[in-house]
């Protein structure tokens, strides 16, 4: 049954160019991509679509990535979704961090696409 259904990757970033490259990358790997451009949309789509992996940027409009991550990871219904947190290591990020977010992996911008693909495969196997 799982053979026919494509794995779903939720891409969350407010930067259209990054979303576009990630979408191309994910689709060229044979996955289905779902896009969210802000924190609210990310939460909604994560709950509606139940993705297999989530690529989540930290600095997002409305609700920041750390909070999105926390909200999902502390909810029994959604805590199984692997979250790859993408950070630009900015000072603003340092301010919002400080609490446990529960993210599975942190990836620093600019990241290597091969590493990212490797990590997606790794979490799909879990």
């Amino acid at each position: 049954m799982t053979k026919n259904i494509k794995k779903k990757i939720l891409i969350v970033d407010d930067e259209p160019d990054i979303v576009e490259t990630l979408k191309f990358l994910v689709e060229s790997e044979g996955f289905e991509s779902i896009i969210a451009m802000d924190g609210e949309e990310a939460l909604r789509k994560a709950k509606e679509e139940n993705p297999d992996v989530m690529i989540l940027d930290v600095m997002l409009p409305k609700i920041n990535g750390y909070k999105v991550c926390r909200l999902l990871k502390f909810d029994n219904k959604y805590k199984h979704i692997p979250i790859l947190m993408v950070t630009a290591r900015s000072q603003e990020e340092d301010k919002v961090i400080g609490e446990e977010t529960g993210a599975d992996e942190y990836i620093t911008k600019p990241f290597d696409i091969n590493e990212l693909i490797e990590k997606i495969h790794l979490y799909l196997k879990h």
Binding site: E15, D17, I18, T21, L22, F24, L25, S28, M59, A88, R89, S90, Q91, E92, E93, D94, K109, P110, F111, D112, I113, N114
Partner: protein
Amino acid sequence: MSKILILSRDLNINKDLIGLLSGVGYEAISVETEKEAIKAAGEFSPDIAIIDTSIVDINIVSTCRSLKLQNETNDIQIVLLTSKDSDSQEVLVGADGYITKPFNENILIATVNAHLRIKKLLDILYTNNSELAKSLYQLNVLYNTSSQLAGTLDKTKLINIMNTGLDKSLNSSLCHALVMNEPQDATLIINSMYPITEALEEALKLRAMLSYKSLFENNKLPFELSIGDITVEKHIKEQDGLFDLNILNWDCMFSAISTADKFFGTVEIIRKNEFSGEDSTCFQTVVKQVSLPLESALLYEEIQKTNIKLEKLEKLKSEFISIVSHELRTPLTSIKNSLEMMLSGRMGEITNIQDNFLNLAKRNVDRLAGIINDLLDLSKIEAGKMEYRFEPLNILEPVKFVMSTFENLADKKHIQLFINSSKDEFNIYGDSNRIEQILTNLVSNAIKFTPNNGKVAVNIEKTNADSIDTTLFFNDSSLIDSNGELNFGQDYVKITIEDTGIGIKTEDIPKVFDKFQQIESSLSREVGGTGLGLPIAMQLIEAHKGKIWLESEFEKGSKFSFIIPLFQDTRLLTNHKK
């Protein structure tokens, strides 16, 4: 005119004495009772009192004492008029001189004259004494004032201490100081015994202003000022009086408050009694004494302002770096990902030439990302925001790991890598990620600056604080006390990264740990780099309580050495094993 008081019930004596004394030019009055005598001593203030001891109903001894006490400042001379036989010894005690009855007129006048001379001398002595006491008091006030002045760097406090000092030492009625703050901003501080009328306040403003301007007559004023710029601050001591314009007719002293090159304001004191030469000296001294601390206060203020400015700049700098690096990362991510996706063949076949240029672009994007990381790290370290995860670790592990990551790069240049360790274990208390960062920076430099077919060796050994030549340490502002920073007898692990590279000229060695400093050479342009690797390594080593230094021979090779304290607990453990 000398004044003489006569106390006697014998009217003949009274008459005779008054006649006799008036005859030689003295003012003489007579009284008949002790009470009248005491009253006269206060009002008439005689120089001499002549007491007839034949009055039996008064106690001569206590009368003498009462008369002397009546006017303390006027040391009255008492001459007793005694009869030859009647008086007991004790009656004679309180008096200064004696004449026996019946008296010889010439002897009486001679005795009175002698006592007048004594009286005059006593007066002079008294005046001198009181002047001495006043000087002592002034000195005391001066001393107190100067010690108070030394205790503060607050401009307002300094001026207040000066005013209080002047007030106490010179007993002034009114003291006003015009203190310049900035052009078009001055304060007139008035210390007054009594409240002052509005007219007087205006007059004082005008007076201070004119005095100020007169100091600089034709020269440029240190502070541009008009009367409207003056704010008045009043300190009134007592309420039961009022000063009006009349006090401007009293005696006054004026001075500028200034040092050789700084002007702070003016001060004037006003008093009803005339000021003496000594008062003037005292005034000048107090004013001079306040000028120096005022100058210090000004400098202190400037330093504080500069510090605040510097802090703001420092904060701005680190914010700038943080924002810039964040803003740079995002577009860089898109570029890097696009290049990588083209290179991966996901977008179709690419030719060799395309592959070459895409790789070139990707290499430079990676380099740019490295620079941003270094910048961010350095700004974090400098702001004290770098977080370390210290734990006991064997430093050989990060050494082996870092060397393994450079195998490919070294192979390309046919450079041989060596690890020479005297032991299998060197435990330190450190953050393994940061140790890896230090080693990566040092080893990548060594490989970068070593021509093909060279060698890069990492040597690890134990050393002791006592055997380290601290003169080799990189001595920068923060490290001047290098010697003192090494714990006496402390054991260290020393790691030396040695290469057969281009080396560094002796005069350039001190520069290598400076930020953005790359020694100019064709090779450094060829190999690139941020110039931040070494300063970052140095800061990270210092965060581990370590030191780094460099020995190098131009065109032969460089030797970077750093030491980190060996983990104490482990050392104790090995001692137990023995």
